[in-house]
Amino acid sequence: MNFAYLSILVFSPLLGIIALLFVPKAKESVIKTVGFLATLPALVLSLMAYFQYRSGSSLERLDEMVNWIQFGNPNRLGELFSIKYELGVDGFSLIMLVLTAILSTLAAIASMYIKKEWKGYFMLFLLLEVGMLGVFAAENLILFFIFFEITLIPTFFLIGKWGYFEKEKAAFSFLIYNGLGSAVLLIVIMVLFARTGTSNIEALTSILAADSSSLVLSEGGKMGLLIAMLIAFGVKLPIFPLHSWMVRVHVQASPSVVMLHAGILLKIGAYGIIRFGMGIFPEQFQDLAVLIAVLGVVNLLYGAFLALVQTDFKMVLAYSSISHMGIVLIGLGALNEAGIQGAIFQVVSHGLIAALLFFLVGVFYERLQTSNIPNLGGLAKGMPITAGFLLAGAMASLGMPGMSGFVSEFMAFLGLFREMPVLAAVGALGIILTAVYLLRAVLGITYGKAHREFAGITDLRKAEWVPALVLLGIIVLIGVYPSVLTEPLTSTLETIMLGIGG
């Protein structure tokens, strides 16, 4: 394509930040419009890249490489340590880029619920978008790490400043957990970099693949790095028992932030495990497959059981996220095409579904000031359309066919049943439990007798239609026509399967 396409894509939200600098603080509507508009270039560019890829043009043309940092003593080491600024995408990261761009735009719309300091909010929001886009476009571990950290800081402030009652606590536990995770990740990256002299992902993959006699890294070393990497990304995903920060964040942050958080930031964990864990250490990953599958089932059931006893709808959704991330792990643990594809599908699908559900939570929290299920009820009477979307979202989440949740759940279990039928059968209980807790929560909110008068409460406003409809539309599209995802994924999957020798 053309020069620096990906760089422009990744850094386009910065334009918005610059534009916002010149907008006076008090002009709410101007700030919101600018913030929304600034998410559009990335959306347009990523969709263009997606459709061009679908129409057969290769993704390699998008790769960018510029020398960036060089250091070291050439006399002693023979060559310089060099870190290159490398951007590039494969099918998987392209999908994640599109997902990020879409969710960012929608979350920008959902930011209408922000009540104060819009300017600071949108600046951080756009910076967060840069970080997320960069994470998926980086072809270099160090660059990846930098973008990864860029997501961390705006998120911290977005949670801590614009959230609900216990926002500071949530923000701090977010920072502590993710900070520790990042530290572990940094160690892994540094060890890899020091041992191999490169931080390019493809180069690392091929170096370690050729390293059968353990010249670069001992077997134990590789295993240790993989486990460290799993912990680092496991915090993000989150894997039981590293999840409690995430519950707090989901409950305390404002809806638009949670949309991005649940939709994209958690998925960085899955992305990392698939791209780096599985990509760089395929053999060690195979040894850990059973453990990962077991963790997946534990996540699935643990989240589901806990979601069952929550009274706050946001808590239900938070635990449901944990439960659904279990399916990602189940798919990865299966280590066959069906499983991995299912895991990737689940990543995308849960991103959309969680965004939809949290957006709807925001919609009725805005109007009723509560998300506590016993205080709600009969919402379908006052807000039939919102209730309808909520029900649709819940159906998508519990894996109703025709929606994206089913395809991913189905493939993940299809994969696991081949490798570990008994474990999969235990995990299948989670499918029932998912239905139980989601129906309990959603019906508790929308059905039944109304506890209060809904006089003066408006149903979805025009601007609120957009995110709900777009998200549901994509969810149904993926559910009905999964090829929109499978086709771009083909080559990525082939590479992974080659790595694990399956």
Binding site: F172, S173, I176, Y177, L180, F240, P241, H243, S244, W245, Y302, F305, L306, L308, V309, N336, E337, A338, Q341, G378, A380, K381, P384, M395, M400, P401, G402, F406, V407, F410, M411, F413, L414, F417, R418, P421, A424, A425, A428, L429, I431, I432, L433, A435, V436, L439, R440, L443, T446, Y447, G448, K449, A450, P482, S483, T486, E487, T490, L493, M497
Partner: protein, 619 residues
Amino acid sequence: MENAWIIPLFPLLSFLFLIFFGKRLKEASAYIGILLSLASFVYSLLVLFERFTSPTHKAESVWLTIGDVQLTAGFEVNQLNALMLVIVSLVSFLVHTYSKGYMHGDERFHVYYAYLGLFTFAMLGLVLSPNLLQTYIFWELVGLGSFLLIGFYFYKEEAKKAAKKAFIMTRIGDVGLLIGMILLFWQVGSFEYDEIFAAVEAGAVSSTMITLTAILIFIGAVGKSGQFPLHTWLPDAMEGPTPVSALIHAATMVAAGVYLVASLFPLFTASETALMTVAIIGAFTAIFAASIGLVQKDIKRVLAYSTVSQLGYMMLALGSAGYVAGVFHLMTHAFFKALLFLAAGSVIHAVHTQDIEKMGGLWKKLRVTGPLFLIGTLAISGVPLFSGFFSKDEILIAAWAHGNTVLFWLAVIAAFFTAFYMFRLFFMVFSGESRSDMKHVKESPSVMTVPMMVLAILAVVAGYVNTPWFGTFLGDWLTEGNPALGHGHIEGPSWIMIVATVVSLLGIFLAWLIYSKRSLSRDWLGASTLYTILYNKYYIDELYELTVLKVTKGLSLILRFIETFIVEGIVKGVSGAVSGLGHLGSRFQSGQIQRYGAVAFVGLAILIVVFAVTGGYLK
């Protein structure tokens, strides 16, 4: 026939159109729903006629690629599908029409029609599916439609509970189906019915695997068809509007379980254990539900238990290798049970209550509904010359011929029960004294009665497509070219027919004695323990409440304990460590530069000394 895929699209169109624009159309939504369902009925009829002459048609395209495996989606028109298409679209069309009268005045009228469209779409899609995966997809969608319609009166607490229960109970079954299906997939490498049958026939699948998968798939059918022990949702589902009960919980969706077993019949026949399971569950459900039906007081609940019992009958038929008998009964049952429900709806529409104790003497007031209800009752009771008689007879013969003597007699007793409680219902509603508070009882409008009449005609004549006297046309056609399905007609001793007739007449007579002539006291059973047990449906709900729910709840609470004390404990530990470190560090931040300087200098001095003593690291 190549365009059979259009059939489900009509109701889908209706769903989409009404959900988006229905609000403006108000009650005119009904015309859209009716027209589009009529379209699919007409088309189905054309397909059926075409199917008489041409062979099975199947068309597929790739839906999902997983590595080298390609999962396909498409449609197939074989005998069973074509027949089911007609049944489903016909009942759906009639219910659409009937609802226009029944739902008149409801403020969510268009939503109701939209949901009906969604359900019909899913059901037709289910019928057309050529593979297990697609079946599962529509299977779930059908459940969704059912869930939405049961919960249509969402503001009623009971409706909410019933909807939830229906969804979850069927989901339990669905998971069984899912597991069975996936296991089968890894054995066979395909979800296609043809390939599964071919593999089973070729012996590529071990017999334990066949039994296991067949039983797992049967669990799915158990959930959907309300078989014991997952039957409790079906009576509760009567909280939905009555036409919905007629469409979903009598004629189509609940029969999907039977349909599923019928579609996978070759798989089941390959395993004697699986067949036996199906038969035993079926027979047990038949008599079990019938016994509960004996004492219920809600008109719709009686019909619901009767549905459960009749579905048990169908399962028994299939379990006894009576493929034709099962499908045949499915068809006749669809007609007469839909008729009964619609008639019951008409009664409820007229008297605004569902409690049969409060009804009575309606025969004179509902001059159209009464006779129609009677026809349905006669048909289900197995009175000769009505459709139910022939199909029930087939089942009994199949059970006898398969050697299930015990099950056979269970079925006979169930038939007796059926006749008894149906006529109990009939007599309590229509005969006897008219109640004083029911003065303004009016017959339903013709938009409601006409569909009932159509069903009544079918309830009478549908049996004649497969009779021992005039030829077994249906059976021959269904099994044509497919020996795996068994023979078109199973010969059985002729005394079975006589026994069945006698038994049902006996039931009717007894009901007449008790509830119409009142020569036997109605309270003969009233106070006994047996009555209480039956009235409380064997306390199955309570049992589940005590076991499954309690266990789940307990487990959740234990896990919550772990969450709050152990996992949060880790969090507290981590954050405590971090903030402790912070406090420690902040002690050094006294703000006194001199101290900073001292610390920095001592650090430097140590480094320098180390450097001087060791001679440096970079020597």
